[in-house]
């Protein structure tokens, strides 16, 4: 076997690869055809609303994958991942605001909210934001650098467990307060919305939506494979050792700081990418994405699906968010009861999540 074939068989078995192939077929062929080529009256037609909703949920799935990498495999629970997601979203949102051009309400070169605040020119944060490549760079760099700096300080002084969780929560809370201010230069309470174009394409057109959907799906599958590749490597085994017995692995001569810092930064960057894909599909980004509640919800997606199983992260994000979409429409007042109960029941009775449950059943059967 060549090295590539070896890697392929290391990641997933035959069944796994078939499942991924099937997912790819659905994401890249079936849904686009059913949305674009099938007439709206046909029973098999997939509405653009559904495409966008699934795209949104897949963005959440990417975040859940990123969370699973640090929580499930390195034992670091972050309650601030919504911050990295929102930062990626804001970086992309800035560019989308600039692409509106003069079609805003005030027909100005500046984004509407700046005209409203009577600003005469773009603040420094917006430098070069009309260039897509710059926006793409920010999407990766801002969450990455912030996570690197924060993680370096935290992991160096061996902050972990609950303490780490609480200070990440404080971090995202502080950032939310900061972004709520108009003076910060990102639209205050309202954030960014009313996007018109992305790379010259109309963001509301079904074709653009389908492309965004497919790109999100490709990213999700890519992140899944990347994560699988990481956790099955030696690096991944050291991470698991850190999760299970950090002192012991340190006495074995590993510098855990490097391992934790790399996976933590990677996780933040993945969240940033998810945020950047999320904003053009949902059409709005505002500071409430940074609220501590949102970040805690990410943890429950992973817990529902199953910690330490990458597929579980996708399953969990899918189940919880699909349920949320149904509940908030059909009986909005019961959604929080359901979500709260989910938190309690999953932690009490389902420590390995849905995927863990399925696995143990399969094992029990044969």
């Amino acid at each position: 076997m060549g090295p590539i074939a070896q890697t392929i068989s290391r990641l997933y078995g035959t069944k796994g690869w078939i499942a991924i192939g099937a997912a790819a077929f659905v994401l890249f062929v079936l849904v686009p055809v059913l949305n674009l080529a099938v007439p709206a009256t046909h029973p098999l037609y997939v509405s653009t609303f559904l495409v966008t909703l699934s795209g949104k949920i897949m963005c959440y799935a990417i975040v859940a994958l990123a969370m699973d990498l640090i929580w499930g495999f390195a034992g670091i629970l972050s309650l601030g991942h919504g911050l990295f997601f929102a930062l990626g979203g804001y970086a992309m949102g800035m560019h989308l605001m600039r692409e509106i051009g003069r079609e805003g309400q005030y027909q100005s070169d500046l984004p509407d909210f700046m005209v409203f605040l009577d600003w005469k020119e773009l603040p420094w944060q917006w430098w070069n934001s009309d260039q897509f490549w710059w926006a793409a760079l920010l999407v990766l760099a801002v969450p990455g650098l912030l996570a690197f700096g924060f993680g370096y300080l935290a992991f160096r002084s061996r902050i972990k467990g609950v303490y780490f969780a609480i200070i990440t929560q404080a971090l995202t809370f502080a950032a939310m307060l900061l972004f709520f201010r108009n003076e910060t230069g990102f639209g205050g309470n309202n954030g960014f919305t009313d996007f018109k174009r992305l790379l010259g394409f109309d963001v509301t057109a079904p074709e653009t939506r389908v492309v965004l959907f497919a790109v999100t799906g490709a990213t999700m599958l890519g992140v899944l494979l990347l994560g699988r590749w990481l956790v099955t490597s030696k690096f991944g085994r050291v991470l698991a050792a850190i999760r299970d017995a950090e002192s012991r692995i340190m006495f074995c001569g590993y510098n855990t700081l490097h391992y934790k810092l790399s996976i933590w930064t990677l996780s933040a960057v993945l969240c940033g990418i998810a945020g950047a894909l999320y904003v053009p599909q949902v059409g709005i980004i505002n500071p409430s994405e940074m609220s501590p509640a949102n970040s805690i919800e990410i943890a429950i997606w992973v817990a529902v699906g199953g910690r330490g199983t990458l597929v579980g992260a996708i399953v969990g994000a899918g189940i919880v968010n699909a349920a949320k979409s149904v509940f908030t429409v059909v009986f909005p007042e019961y959604w929080l009861y359901f979500l709260g109960l989910l938190f309690i029941l999953v932690t009490l009775f389902l420590p390995n999540g849905v995927v863990g449950l399925l696995k143990s059943r399969r094992r029990a059967v044969g």
């Binding site: 629970l77 935290a154 404080a170 971090l171 502080a174 307060l177 900061l178 929080l336």
Partner: protein
């Protein structure tokens, strides 16, 4: 409609020349005729008409007699409009603003006083002085005092001006320095706006005195605000210091236990209002144990049903208690509605002590500071002197050993958790007296409370006290300097960095801590 107006004045308003009209308006103001406001507005808006000798206010084809206020039916056929020119309209605008000062509605008076402050007219002095003698609201009174002082300081003969300037030295109003400084201004060519050197000297002296006093007042106010915020943080964090600090349980539903305490206070208040309105002022005394009991019971139920299965799994506890908090929030929304509810201060808690100059210390804040001190002392005694406290400390320090010597650890856990939750309820009771009570009340305090406990160090009450007070101070000082949001962010960032340097917090338990 109020009592009849002076018919001669109304006649002058309707039939007189412009000068006579303005004189009549001034007379009405000088007499403080609040009832003239509709008449004057009608004149300004062209709704005043005359039919022979009678003066009518005609609005939407319905006429009322301007003097008596009685309805006039049928509408007389022959009517003439009373014309008001710009000068008359200006006089009316001023007069209406002045007369509103005497209105029984607080908002109208407040608005009118502020309007006066923006456009001060010397002729208003008698009216303002008259209003001052009747005014009871402290805020409006201070505005009116400024108006009166401004008029007196800037006009009249030299001696009365100097006297007015001297009296301003004792002024309690925050606007006084600006007023005095305006007299000292120079023109572009370097000469003073105020030519009289004696007056200028009097102004400088008064200004010095006022500024010195205001500076002290501000410092004292800042100190008080810091202690006040600190006491609130302390109350909010104290329960957490027990459940997290002593027991190691990460209870993200802590904020909701605070909220339950606030709602318990609300329920007690409503019960008193409905069944014992005479004893309404005492409701708070009954609300304190009720809030404690409500939150303690909820807390104990949570401990028995969920949390005890998760001891030793802090991250899972965190998620489960978050779920509990969501359900509690939604539960309160279902029972009490999503809107904020009204909790009224008992009368003995409203108002405040005027310390110096512009600084008023509200009673409700003072009571809360005292209450927080009492709660801390009670908890300290409970932990240090009682059998339960001994058990709690024993279980905290060495659970298996405590169990071996016969401490019922499971029961101690439940009771300690109930105690921490009950203290959260007390915090809710206190918070209901100074802020809004709504389902989201607890969310606002959860991050802050954790910061206090983590900053103070886990396992010792003194750490929590010091941390809460110092964070309160730092927050208020930064707030005065950079604004509330930036102050809050700065404090959060400070704590985040502080924990990196000293993860055990300000006060750490001494001993051989082992990695958990």
């Amino acid at each position: 409609m109020a009592a009849a107006l002076d018919a001669a004045l109304v006649g002058k308003l309707a039939f007189g020349t412009n000068n006579e009209k303005i004189a009549a308006i001034r007379m009405l103001v000088a007499q403080g005729e609040v009832a003239a406001v509709p008449l004057l507005t009608a004149l300004a808006e062209g709704e005043l008409q005359t039919a022979g000798e009678r003066v009518l206010i005609v609005r939407d084809e319905i006429a009322t007699d301007a003097v008596t206020g009685a309805a006039v039916t049928p509408l007389p056929e022959e009517r003439e409009d009373v014309i008001a020119n710009n000068r008359v309209r200006g006089a009316i605008a001023n007069a209406v603003a002045g007369l509103r000062l005497l209105s029984p509605q607080r908002e109208l008076r407040f608005e009118a006083a502020q309007k006066l402050l923006r456009g001060i007219k010397p002729g208003m002095l008698p009216l303002v002085k008259g209003a001052l003698t009747k005014e009871t609201d402290a805020e409006i009174k201070s505005i009116l005092e400024r108006v009166a002082a401004t008029i007196q300081v800037k006009s009249g003969d030299k001696n009365s001006r100097i006297e007015a300037i001297r009296t301003l030295a004792d002024s309690h109003s925050a606007g006084t320095p600006a007023l005095l400084e305006s007299i000292l201004q120079k023109r572009k060519d370097g000469t003073f706006v105020e030519p009289d050197a004696e007056i200028r000297r009097a102004v400088t002296e008064s200004l010095d005195a006022v500024q010195k006093r205001l500076a002290w007042g501000e410092r004292a106010g800042l100190l008080f605000a810091g202690v006040s915020l600190g006491s609130i943080l302390l109350l909010a964090a104290l329960g957490l210091a027990i459940t997290y600090g002593l027991m190691g349980v990460i209870n993200l539903a802590h904020g909701e236990l605070i909220m339950i305490g606030a709602y318990a206070t609300y329920v007690v208040q409503n019960l008193f209002r409905a069944h014992a309105p005479g004893a309404f002022d005492a409701y708070l005394l009954a609300a304190v144990p009720a809030a404690f009991a409500a939150s303690a019971l909820v807390g104990m139920a949570l401990e028995r049903s969920v949390i005890r299965f998760l001891y030793g799994r802090p991250l899972e506890t965190l998620l489960a208690t978050w779920g509990i908090s969501l359900m509690l929030i939604q539960g309160v929304r279902t029972f009490f509605g999503a809107q904020n509810v009204q909790v009224e201060n008992p009368s003995w808690m409203s108002g405040g002590i005027e310390l110096v100059a512009n600084v008023v210390l509200p009673w409700n804040r003072i009571v809360i500071i005292g209450f927080a001190a009492l709660v801390v002392i009670a908890i300290g005694l409970l932990l240090a002197r009682t059998r339960l406290g001994l058990f709690v400390r024993g279980v905290t320090q060495n659970r298996p050993m405590a169990s071996c010597v016969g401490v019922p650890t499971a029961r101690v856990d439940t009771l300690a958790f109930g105690l921490g939750s009950g203290v959260a309820g007390l915090a809710g009771c206190a918070l209901s007296q100074i802020g809004n009570v709504g389902p989201d009340l607890g969310q606002a305090y959860i991050v802050d409370s954790f910061m206090v406990v983590v900053f103070g160090g886990v396992g010792q009450l003194i750490g929590t006290v010091v941390a809460a007070l110092s964070l309160g101070f730092v927050n208020k000082i930064l707030e005065a300097w950079s604004g509330a949001v930036i102050a809050k962010i700065a404090v959060l960032m400070f704590i985040v960095l502080f924990i990196q340097k000293r993860p055990q917090g300000l006060f750490a338990l001494k001993g051989r801590a082992v990695e958990a």
